[in-house]
């Protein structure tokens, strides 16, 4: 019996417990007796939870524990003595035998796996039976105890609600756990990286070539991890070129839509701009690589600048288009938040609409717009697919937009695809880059939100 089937069985028992307890509690209600504290269904839930939850928790733990026990018992068997001592080969045979035993594979590539499969099968069967027995015991014990407490005075509702409350709290703790998981996994792998490469070299080095020699005697690269060219490429594409495209277009779109456009045009154009934000980034990346990059290269060649197919300009342009709706919706919000009296006052003094916008509305809305731009920058530097598909891999330190630069996210993808060895600085460097990216976007977001909040308070 597999663990999945045992889980289903326990859930079935829970349903039975619910029905039984509800029937018992339903018998309490009678016209001549005092009203019971809880409804029958609540008694049902109390008993069902006590039947299923402890047993399921046990199964979850058992799943982890039994894996190790099965492994130990297989390794202790006489058949396993013939296994090669070399670690990777042994693991390959064992995982193949496991696949055979669980029916995921039909034929073994390695004859030894065929011998080990029955051993595995019997060990899995043995430990699953133990799991089944204990789980049933836990379920019956919990259920019986809870069932014995069902009485007219028993406050089942309070108990059940307390459990639900705990469930709610646990669900909201997942967010903290995720944040913690991100920080810890990035920190842990980064620390391993920094034990091999000095943080000073990483943060201030000018040379990036992460290829490591596979053999000790191999000529050539021993790996250089100076990330400044990556940081520069990221800023160049995400914070400079993309913003040169996105800020004017986004800001002017927002101004036109809020101040000039008829409500009909606004109703049509606003969702249309939102679509730009909804297009998957891989589509933008393909568009950049297929259409924009060749056009940019031709442009560069026609004005006499040697241009690469993977130019910073192509990636930045397309990223700017993607960012337009972020800038425009933030600008829209902050312009709408400027008090009407300021606008009316300016118009009453005889200023034209455009003078009012340029001299009154935009300066008043500036903190909000700046906050929006910061959020857009944080979004742009974390963007991956456009730069992976349209920007290059060459870590150039150049300000020529027709040249190829590489970014932090491109390098993370590059370092983590292909062979992964978690003891080589090449793989671990990706986590260090991830840590920097995480910290920078976090800082940008905090600053942006604070700026926006301060500004909102100014007019409230």
């Amino acid at each position: 019996m597999s663990l999945g089937a045992i889980t289903l069985l326990i859930l079935g028992l829970g349903v039975v417990a619910w029905l039984a307890a509800r029937a018992r509690a339903a018998a309490f209600a009678a016209p001549d007796r005092p009203r019971p504290h809880s409804l029958p269904g609540q008694h049902g839930w109390y008993v069902a939870l006590w039947t299923a939850v402890p047993a399921l928790i046990f199964l979850a733990i058992w799943r982890q524990v039994s894996g190790n026990l099965i492994y130990a018992s297989v390794m202790a068997s006489p058949e396993a003595a013939a296994l090669p001592a070399f670690d990777m080969q042994r693991q390959a045979i064992l995982s193949e035998a496991y696949a055979l035993a669980t029916g995921r594979a039909e034929t073994a590539f390695n004859p030894q796996a065929g011998i080990l499969a029955p051993v595995y099968e019997s060990a899995i069967g043995f430990y699953n039976w133990i799991g089944l027995a204990v789980a049933l015991l836990v379920a019956f014990a919990g259920g019986a105890w809870a069932y014995s407490r069902v009485s007219p005075q028993f406050r089942a509702r309070t108990r059940v609600e307390r459990i639900i409350m705990m469930g709610l709290l646990v669900a909201s703790l997942i967010a903290i756990l995720t944040t913690l998981g991100i920080v810890l996994s990035l920190l842990f792998e980064s620390l391993r990286f920094f034990s091999m490469v000095s943080p000073v070299e990483f943060l201030f080095g000018l040379n990036w070539s992460p290829q490591m020699a596979i053999r000790a005697d191999q000529a050539g690269s021993s790996g250089a991890f100076g990330a400044i060219p990556l940081f520069w490429g990221t800023i160049f594409i995400g914070a400079i070129i993309a913003m040169i495209v996105a800020i004017p277009l986004g800001l002017m779109s927002a101004i036109y839509l809020t101040q000039y456009a008829s409500s009909r045009l606004r109703a049509w154009m606003k969702p249309l701009l939102e679509i730009l934000a909804g297009v998957p980034t891989v589509v933008y990346g393909y568009f950049a690589a297929l259409t924009v990059a060749p056009a940019v290269r031709d442009l560069g060649l026609s004005i006499g600048i040697p241009a690469s197919t993977e130019s910073a300009l192509a990636a930045g342009l397309v990223m700017g288009i993607m960012i337009i709706p972020f800038v425009s919706s933030m600008a829209d919000d902050s312009i709408a938040a400027v008090p009407q009296a300021m606008r009316d006052g300016s118009l009453a003094m005889g200023a034209t609409t455009s003078e009012t916008i340029r001299k009154v509305l935009v300066p008043a809305a500036l903190p909000g717009v700046v906050g929006g731009v910061l959020l857009a920058v944080s979004r742009a530097i974390g963007e991956t697919m456009i730069v992976v598909m349209a920007a290059g891999l060459a870590a150039n330190l150049t300000a020529n937009p027709f040249d190829s630069v590489t970014t932090v996210t491109t390098q993370i993808v590059q370092l983590l695809t292909g062979d992964q060895e978690f003891d080589s600085p090449k793989t671990l460097a990706a986590f260090a880059l991830g840590l920097v990216l995480f910290m920078v976007t976090l800082a940008l977001n905090i600053v942006a939100l604070r700026v926006v909040k301060k500004y909102r308070e100014a007019y409230d």
């Binding site: 995720t178 779109s253 998957p280 568009f287 990216l437 976007t441």
Partner: protein, 423 residues
């Protein structure tokens, strides 16, 4: 303004004077220029969107069509030693698997089109031959005319972008009425392949579907429950602040960071299977959850407090108030937010590359633990291919993805308009 204040002229302003008129004209011209600039910004943004969509559609629409070349197969004389009787009932599949269809195709093509005849047909064209025989075993007894998928070169030539030689070949075939265009069912039913004329989208689509199921099953309950807790029950203390800060930050973390988390936790610590929809779904669920929490909180906040007061007043417990009254009323808003979050997850590529979902997967995944690809990753993989035939397939896959995203967003807007209540 200061320089004007410095030289105050006591006489009243002559508004009809030439200087003032010029000034007004200049200001109005600036007004018009500014307005046009705004309109231009809108039009440029919308134009980019239109250009993007038109490029994708014009490139991709031909991916749904394929060219077929006529082949006359003389079955009795072919090297296909198959007994029509063996193709009835059980054992039919085995008999088919044992027969050498590629060789039969080879012979027939060479007999009809000369030595290079085989190169007119797609590498997987023999599958069409096999399926024809399976569907109608009586073919084996006679000479039959079949339409089989053309090779990539001919296919591209038929769509008007081929190389000169293929173009000439195609023109000769077309003159003889031996080439036609049909719907590319392989593209809708097949999986990844190295030959662009044999690739299909179904495998990636199924992978996306399985991944989205995992994402929904995890992100939706956790997201809704945390939203309920934070909005209705959470005491104001440091823990609650920490939860709120975490959720707001998670919503802004770059998606690739979630990929690193998935790689470090799900693959390296928990040893879940690589490239599997299970891991992809878990990773995307962590990314989608904050979106659902934020949408859920807004929806719950918009339920008026009088509903809660009324329920509490007639004796409901605080849990009953939320689960019987507040949640059902907030559900349309929560669902809208969920669909938008899922649409974002469906188009997400970067975190899935981190957890190994960029492998070549030639068969649709059978379960949550099988190696799988998803639509956006498939687009990425095809976009990397050198062969010319993959361009239209990539664009066609993008069309499929965009259609699904549009449908999901449309559903969200419909739900919002239909069920949204103003209190």
């Amino acid at each position: 303004m200061t320089d004007m204040a410095a030289s105050i002229d006591p006489s009243p302003t002559d508004w009809n004077g030439e200087a003032m008129r010029r000034r007004i004209r200049r200001r109005y011209a600036a007004e018009r220029r500014f307005k046009l600039l705004g309109l231009a910004a809108i039009l440029v943004s919308a134009g980019f969107l239109a250009f993007l969509l038109v490029t994708m559609f014009s490139n991709g629409i031909s991916g749904f069509a394929r060219s077929e070349v006529r082949l006359d197969v003389d079955f009795p004389r072919s090297s296909l030693f198959l007994d029509p009787a063996a193709l009835e009932g059980f054992g039919a599949d085995q008999a088919l698997a044992g027969a050498d269809f590629p060789e039969a195709l080879n012979e027939a093509a060479q007999a009809q089109y000369g030595d290079s005849g085989r190169s007119l047909f797609s590498e997987g064209a023999w599958i069409g031959l096999r399926d024809a025989v399976r569907d109608d075993p009586s073919l084996l007894g006679r000479r039959a005319t079949l339409w089989l998928p053309a090779s990539t070169a001919i296919d591209i030539a038929a769509k008007g972008e081929g190389e000169a030689e293929a173009e000439r070949l195609k023109a000769r075939l077309a003159e003889a009425g031996r080439v036609r265009t049909g719907i590319n069912w392989t593209f809708l039913r097949g999986s990844d392949s190295t030959d662009p004329s044999a690739v299909g989208i179904w495998g990636a689509f199924k992978g996306s579907l399985l991944t989205m199921i995992v994402t929904l099953l995890i992100a939706f309950p956790i997201g809704v429950l945390s939203a309920v807790y934070l909005e209705e029950y959470a005491p104001r203390n440091r823990w609650t602040d920490m939860i709120e800060v975490s959720i707001n930050n998670l919503a802004a973390v770059p998606s690739i960071i979630f990929g690193l988390l998935g790689l470090a936790i799900f693959l390296n610590v928990m040893h879940l299977p690589r490239s599997a929809p299970l891991v992809g779904g878990l990773t995307l669920a962590l990314m989608t959850m904050p979106v659902i929490v934020i949408a859920g909180r807004n929806a719950i906040k918009s339920v008026p407090p009088s509903i809660r007061d009324a329920a509490l007043g007639i004796g409901a417990s605080r849990i009953q108030v939320v689960f019987h009254h507040v949640l059902p009323l907030a559900l349309p808003g929560i669902l809208t937010g969920t669909i938008i979050g899922m649409a974002r997850a469906l188009g997400e590529t970067a975190p899935l590359l981190m957890i190994g979902m960029r492998a070549f997967v030639a068969a649709p995944p059978g379960g949550f633990a099988d190696p799988a690809s998803v639509l956006p990753v498939q687009i990425f993989l095809w976009s990397d291919e050198v062969s010319r035939g993959f361009v239209e397939k990539t664009s066609a896959a993008i069309i499929v993805l965009l259609v699904f995203l549009l449908a999901m967003n449309g559903l969200a807007i419909y739900l919002r308009n239909k069920f949204e209540r103003r209190w």
